[in-house]
Subunit: 235 residues, 2 copies
Amino acid sequence: MRLLLISNSTNAGEAYLDHPKQHIKNFLGNTPRTALFIPYAGVTISFNDYENRVKERFNEIGHHIQSIHHFKDPVVAVKKAEVIIVGGGNTFYLLKSLQDHKLIKPVREKVLSGTPYIGWSAGANVACPTISTTNDMPIAQPASFNAFHIIPFQINPHYLDTNPDGHAGETREMRIEEFIKVNRNVFVVGLREGTMLLIENDTIQLIGARNVRIFKFGHHPVELKQGDDFKFLLT
Amino acid sequence: MRLLLISNSTNAGEAYLDHPKQHIKNFLGNTPRTALFIPYAGVTISFNDYENRVKERFNEIGHHIQSIHHFKDPVVAVKKAEVIIVGGGNTFYLLKSLQDHKLIKPVREKVLSGTPYIGWSAGANVACPTISTTNDMPIAQPASFNAFHIIPFQINPHYLDTNPDGHAGETREMRIEEFIKVNRNVFVVGLREGTMLLIENDTIQLIGARNVRIFKFGHHPVELKQGDDFKFLLT
């Protein structure tokens, strides 16, 4: 399997999909490819607008996308896909749409059989066993929190260390401590903005200048950086 | 019905339950009362510790609490309660526990028939129709997102205006815009830290120095302050 799981589409102050653009190009290679784009996480943007936004950026690196909402049968579209891309937005809304369209199993099988997968934010979250480490608001109720389960660990996208000054709500670390208390056998990767995980079969690399923070029940959180060994996450 | 729905237990830099203490005293009055405390939102704190923490503060204002986890039959405990208090923590975990203990209907009926209700953070959220405006992480999956539905509108507790500097994840306003896009007939009250709503039958007042921000699909968000008319939320 080959996955590029990106924390966030956009770094503060930068253009849309700018920070991962070169890494997406490296991941897809020089031969032009047409990827299947899944825009279901978009709530306040139309699927057409979302598609155009992503298409523009992919065209700049010599690739093309087609959004799944143009296909009559989304399951067939997945089965024929060269590459699968899942964009960010609301993770609950995304998962519910994937379930409603009966895409969980087809996408999982397709990616496990070798079709490259790119996801950012909500799209990285649904590659995990469940969406239980999302930051998003539960605006819609999926039938279950179970997601593609392509990788065996959880990602917390947009991981951040602090609250804004003067705010006393739970920090992200406190929220993840709750998750591991209730889900004791699962690793959680706090993936800070500007970073991504490149997974190729049994290897896994961090790309990006910032550390990731790894959580597991009964252990102190650990900070790891680019070049460190992440293989333990896949076993 | 009488409810005191508080955004947050604790303001940044202050002691636990310090900011709402005087308002809780005003709400409960001078005659000593024993309230039933529901600690189910607590994940990384034991129910005993959570109870003691809350008890200490209630004792300071001349009232007493007993946690529901000491009762053999929680439904009976609710039916006999003088006052019901639901503390903060993880909203998903709280709702799942309430559902597992079959407490949704008993609490709703008890409060609608006049028993005072105090809730902060997750405990304010579950008084709403659903938990779909929580900020919490979905660490456990409730059977449904439907909550007590004692009030007809949604609260977003710990409402905040900005992300920390340099962070590009969705702002709270963007998340609520997604909610109202999908749930068009529901008002959402962004309840900033340090504020609370006092609801007495068909009257509703804001308590606290900061504005609330009100969201409804198709309307520009509105800022309202203490003394303003909030009756529209109850109709």
